[in-house]
């Protein structure tokens, strides 16, 4: 291959690799503050290309490894995510790049009997490398996106899981720089392929573990919801039993008044009894018994925390959510709001629902201690350390997705707002 073709195709391989990194970053980290994303990622790739040409870094050299390390780290800055997530994305990219490159290199060298140092001078090898980069990039981006969406693995678990790929990266770097000027022998080929297969199996195991964790968390959430619903209904039932007991006393008193012919007294007494009964059951009536019980319970919880919880609700007899999903949405939204408002001054929460022919609107506003950083309306991260926590709003959004609903969150002037709508006609 002449130097011009080598220069051109070599850089195409590099660009395909950087594009693969960007795909994985985008899938795993999502959008960040830097806008517009397409412009900055293009600037990044162009800058890296310029640097490579200007400094004459070359291809598949030790210096080019450092160039790529720099790229995988810097590219994460353009995207969202936490520091730990950015480092994980960099590790995923590093593993992906080295595995793909070494596998193609050793397989091509073994098949064509070409020296490991000269293999990159072959056009077919470079084309294979470019295609591999794109295919592997798309596949890894797909799995990275799934992990991010399922988000079952907590940070420490994810860190432990990335230990093995970390070792693989080191071994691949050793393989790369220790390549001799002769064709790959069968042992080295097996070693390279073995590492690739091992990483694929490892990814499979991580995926299985992740699925199990997701399933466990779903069960955990389900159990918590059932408990919440049972407690709310139990509170309501206990109150009803107490009232039934009291009612006997009231009927006795009424009977006595009527026997004595004191009808006006009886009427007045009846009026007070009616009010007392209303005030002692649940604190509200939306004509939806489960919601009444649940909201009454949340009101009591808020009162205990010193939080002022204001309701503004319509008649909620028929709403486009089934009971389990209703508990999921209302409990999670109010739990989060009450927790946050309890630390704020003044501790206030507003819960508003509106029902129209087209949709059910739910709006929760609560005071917060300080404004939250929510780039692009992303859900806030949990501040709690216990496993399973911080999933509340994620679960609410899962329910909304199920009903083809939409939501928006914002935080300004120390008010956190979560608003969602569920279409009525699509049920």
């Amino acid at each position: 291959m002449n130097p011009e073709s080598w220069f051109l195709i070599g850089h195409i391989v590099c660009i395909s690799q950087w594009c693969a990194f960007i795909m994985v970053d985008y899938a795993y980290l999502g959008k960040g503050r830097v806008r517009p994303l397409w412009l900055w990622t293009t600037v990044l790739v162009a800058g890296e290309l310029f640097l490579g040409i200007k400094l004459n870094i070359g291809f598949f050299t030790l210096l080019s490894i450092w160039e790529n390390v720099g790229f995988v780290l810097v590219s994460t800055l353009v995207f969202g995510g936490t520091l730990a997530q950015k480092l994980t994305a960099a590790l995923i990219n590093g593993t992906m790049c080295l595995l793909a490159e070494n596998t193609v290199r050793y397989v091509a060298s073994w098949v064509t009997h070409t020296s490991l140092l000269m293999i990159w001078k072959r056009m077919d090898c470079l084309v294979a490398m470019t295609i591999t980069n794109v295919i592997v990039g798309v596949l890894v981006a797909y799995f990275a996106h799934r992990w991010k969406t399922e988000r079952a693995l907590e940070s420490p678990q994810a860190l432990v899981m990335s230990f093995f790929p970390g070792i693989t990266v080191v071994l691949n770097v050793v393989l790369m720089i220790s390549a001799e000027d002769k064709p790959a022998d069968f042992l080295m080929l097996l070693l390279t392929l073995g590492l690739t297969v091992a990483v694929l199996i490892h990814m499979g195991i991580v995926q299985m573990f992740n699925d199990q964790m997701a399933q466990q968390q779903a069960l955990h959430v389900q159990a918590a919801l059932e408990r919440e619903r049972a407690e709310a209904l139990m509170d309501s039932y206990t109150t009803q039993r107490r009232l039934t007991h009291e009612f006997t006393n009231h009927t006795d008193a009424l009977a006595l008044l009527l026997q004595q012919g004191e009808y006006e007294e009886a009427k007045a007494y009846l009026a007070t009894v009616t009010k007392t009964i209303a005030a002692n059951t649940t604190i509200m009536d939306t004509h939806n018994p489960l919601l009444d019980a649940l909201l009454s319970k949340k009101y009591e919880e808020a009162s205990r925390e010193g939080v002022m919880l204001y309701f503004d609700l319509p008649d909620l007899r028929e709403i486009p959510l089934d009971n389990t999903d209703l508990v999921m949405v209302v409990s999670n939204l109010l739990n989060n709001a009450i927790d946050a408002a309890a630390k704020a001054d003044p501790p206030e929460v507003y819960f508003r629902m509106r029902k129209t022919e087209a949709e059910l609107l739910v709006s929760v506003r609560n005071r917060v201690q300080k404004n939250l950083d929510l780039p692009d309306g992303q859900l806030p991260r949990s501040t709690k350390k216990e496993p399973g926590h911080g999933m509340g709003l994620w679960n609410v959004t899962d329910v909304l997705r199920k009903y083809q609903g939409e939501y928006t969150i914002s935080c300004r002037e120390k008010w956190f707002r979560f608003t969602c709508s569920v279409p009525v006609r699509k049920i």
């Binding site: 604190i283 509200m284 009101y299 319509p314 508003r352 129209t356 939409e406």
Partner: protein
């Protein structure tokens, strides 16, 4: 400030009156408070149109507090209704009065001060809700409620009301020069040349905003998601369509 308190429990009404007096005195607001124990008495109060706030029980002896609130609104359309009740009943007709707050009697002492604070803040802010247009040495004030949308047309801005395609007024200016306060009060820029009052949006779909008077406006594709999100948040907080 004129306030009306109506609760069939005279002792509780007196407690509310005392609490309100204390709160107003703290803020240096002179108060004219009328306390009633029956709905009919409340409706017969002289100069009802002067009253700005009514604190009502929902369950009155001879009248429903919600229908009392609705009748008070007929005499005094801007009156703020605060329901203080032993029990919060959100019946179908309940929320159509658009009450400012619902408070439980047992929490009156704790919640009323914050409620009044929020109310005073809102009352103070609501005094300025007009768009002032200065042109040719004349000044014109258009209430926000009367504006459906504003459209930029070359060097002019056309202000439209409920009648489609017939501007309430036109003046030389730019949409970028509109006061920030307008956008804090339910107006939303939906494209390069249109600002709409969210109160009059019927729906946003297919990159179009449809207003209640049937006017359709194009929404910028870049900002479409953000515009929908802003409208959703506004609906959640303010819309009162039944």
């Amino acid at each position: 400030m004129h306030l009306l308190i109506c609760d069939d429990d005279a002792r509780f009404a007196a407690r509310v009156e005392q609490k309100v007096r204390d709160e107003l005195a703290q803020r240096g607001i002179p108060a004219q408070i009328t306390v009633c124990t029956r709905g009919e008495e409340a409706l017969a109060t002289p100069h009802l149109e002067l009253y700005q706030v009514a604190l009502l029980d929902v369950d009155l002896d001879t009248m429903n507090g919600i229908s009392l609130g609705r009748q008070l609104r007929q005499s005094s359309p801007d009156i703020a209704l605060i329901y203080i009740s032993a029990y919060l009943e959100f019946a179908p007709e309940g929320y159509t009065v658009n009450a400012f707050r619902y408070i439980l009697k047992r929490d009156m002492e704790r919640m009323l001060p914050n409620c009044l604070e929020a109310l005073f803040r809102e009352k103070t802010a609501s005094g300025r809700k007009v768009l002032t247009i200065r042109q040719n040495r004349t000044e014109m004030e258009l209430p926000y409620d009367s504006i459906y949308c504003l459209e930029s047309d070359l060097r002019k801005v056309n202000v439209y009301g409920d009648v489609p395609h017939q501007p309430l007024c036109s003046y030389y200016g730019k949409l970028t020069d509109l006061p920030a306060e307008l956008f804090e009060n339910g107006f939303l820029r939906v494209g390069r040349s249109d600002v709409v009052n969210m109160r009059y949006i019927r729906q946003i779909s297919g990159y179009k905003v449809t207003l209640r008077n049937g006017v359709e406006l194009s929404v910028s594709r870049n900002g479409y998601a953000a515009i929908r999100a802003t409208y959703l948040e506004w609906k959640g907080q303010f819309s009162d369509e039944s």
